[in-house]
Assembly symmetry: C2
Homo-oligomer: 360 residues x 2
Amino acid sequence: MPVGTAATVKAVPQHLLEEVGAGGRGAQIILANTYHLYLRPGHETIRRLGGVHRFMSWNRPMLTDSGGFQVFSLNELRKVTPNGVEFRSHLDGSRHFFSPEHSMDVQIALGADILMAFDECTEYPATRERARQSLDLTHAWARRSLDHFRAHQQEVPWHQEFDGQTQNIFGIAQGGMYHDLRRESAERLAEMDFPGYAIGGLAVGEPRDKTREMIEHTLQFLPKDKPRYVMGVGYPEEIVEYAAMGVDMMDCVLPTRAARHGLLFTSQGRLNIKNKIHAEDQGPIDPACSCMVCQRYSRAYLRHLFVSREMLGAMLNTLHNLSHYLDTMQTVRDAMELGTLSALLAQTRLREHEAAARKA
Amino acid sequence: MPVGTAATVKAVPQHLLEEVGAGGRGAQIILANTYHLYLRPGHETIRRLGGVHRFMSWNRPMLTDSGGFQVFSLNELRKVTPNGVEFRSHLDGSRHFFSPEHSMDVQIALGADILMAFDECTEYPATRERARQSLDLTHAWARRSLDHFRAHQQEVPWHQEFDGQTQNIFGIAQGGMYHDLRRESAERLAEMDFPGYAIGGLAVGEPRDKTREMIEHTLQFLPKDKPRYVMGVGYPEEIVEYAAMGVDMMDCVLPTRAARHGLLFTSQGRLNIKNKIHAEDQGPIDPACSCMVCQRYSRAYLRHLFVSREMLGAMLNTLHNLSHYLDTMQTVRDAMELGTLSALLAQTRLREHEAAARKA
């Protein structure tokens, strides 16, 4: 799921987002960040404009996060109590308060198809005591999120237009790097019977092996017949691994943010477009890629745009990286249908080792 | 002609530039700036990459300026002699020298379809003596530009590919705000028999009535059967006036630069998208506009993108302004064919007066 922080996947117009990647099918779902839209333009503005889909002219599924992750990232500007989080805006320093109930109200006003329970993203590393206490808060807040959502879901701005269809709320499992806490979290959320589940608190600084281990462990205790979503991952080779384990949804700013910094993903590994080696290279980013950027533009031109700080560089790099990610996921889906997933995994791991060997 | 300074019309991918405006016909010709491409990525790099068309993947006509205008804008960094101009790069302060011969060499390496003679853009205001001296320099340089171009035009990087087709060089008439000097300049250039002619040294700070007067006056003395190009203009209502006078080509950064600053052109005049009045406006920029931006996005969303400094804002604003300009020129062409040019002019002037009255 491409990330569209402020109701825009940075540097990409919606009609290209609808076309990007394998078979021209485009992104099937995108994210927006509750914290950012709450501050600007404001959730009540978006409610009055008919919800975030209409606001940004995106007619496919959308997901909003709870705002918690961003708020907890404001280290010096926040104060956590059992009731919620007091924080200061990174834009103007103004004071705000998010509780589970308030996060639901904001997400209902935004009107994405999937909203996320308000959780505390446990930092890494965390002692067992700290992870335990944080998990209790997350579970209490999951209950309050679910109850408040159920009581107010009719307030979604597009409710009258799509009668009976409302939003879906996903719970978020935490538990730090502790197996028993992760299991407890998955089981407690499953008891609450959410229509979907996320695994949060990963990719927060722990080694990648630990991320993989925690995902594999937690998945066992989450209902297989519901969507299972790992938040905030990852590199292309990671998302293949996790999808193969049974993860249905993932989001990450990596393809878009890396693109703006000139880091491009290809079938042969990563490349940095600002590298002088590309200055007179007439070839595409990736000869194996069928995206509109690789079909039309050379590395030499993309390097020139990057070095000259031209906006078109950010746009083309982003389109390519999104294509690469969506193509990667399509390859996983195809392999699942064909029963060749283990071969795909072996190939992905081999490439990863080769790339690591080239670096070393 | 949209301006693509560094081989990119800022914020617009080439495939949208091919589609923008009336009937989806797109821009028929774009500009690139010799000074900028000379400094970065360098004209020899572009020559090795097959010329600027191939470099940026633009398969329609292109024009390069002579580099003179930019060099003369570097007030503190330049020194003019009869032989040429010594200047310092705005990027790194390095020393460079442009003569008519060198400008030709660079423009031949870039390989645009139309290149411009190296001239001195006379500043405004200028005394008669200063305009006279500057004009003599421009005429001497026009002669040297033409001779050097004729001797070296086979060196264009795409010569072997398009056998026998080479570039076309346009002369530039100067003369400050002096009728007799403008006449002399037009006649001297016409004697040199260029395949096309530009009127330069306008829109440099003089009142708009003076610009119009100088264009109208100079046009009389330039061959009617050759393209006549006014450099660096203008507002939508100006380009209608000048086209009606017989001007065939114009270029200006206004539609693209203004767009990046949130200034949008509409059939009802200008609007500034950052104005709070647009914050919850679900309407398009211009209900009379058929561009892809007006068909899909609201003023509320465009304001949000602008206020949030999102790149998509610059892109969508630019696409709209370019559409408005290309649509405006199409309206002029249609009126010429239908014989309704005087009605179009009357309507344009009326709108201009109404807009001025609303302001006052």
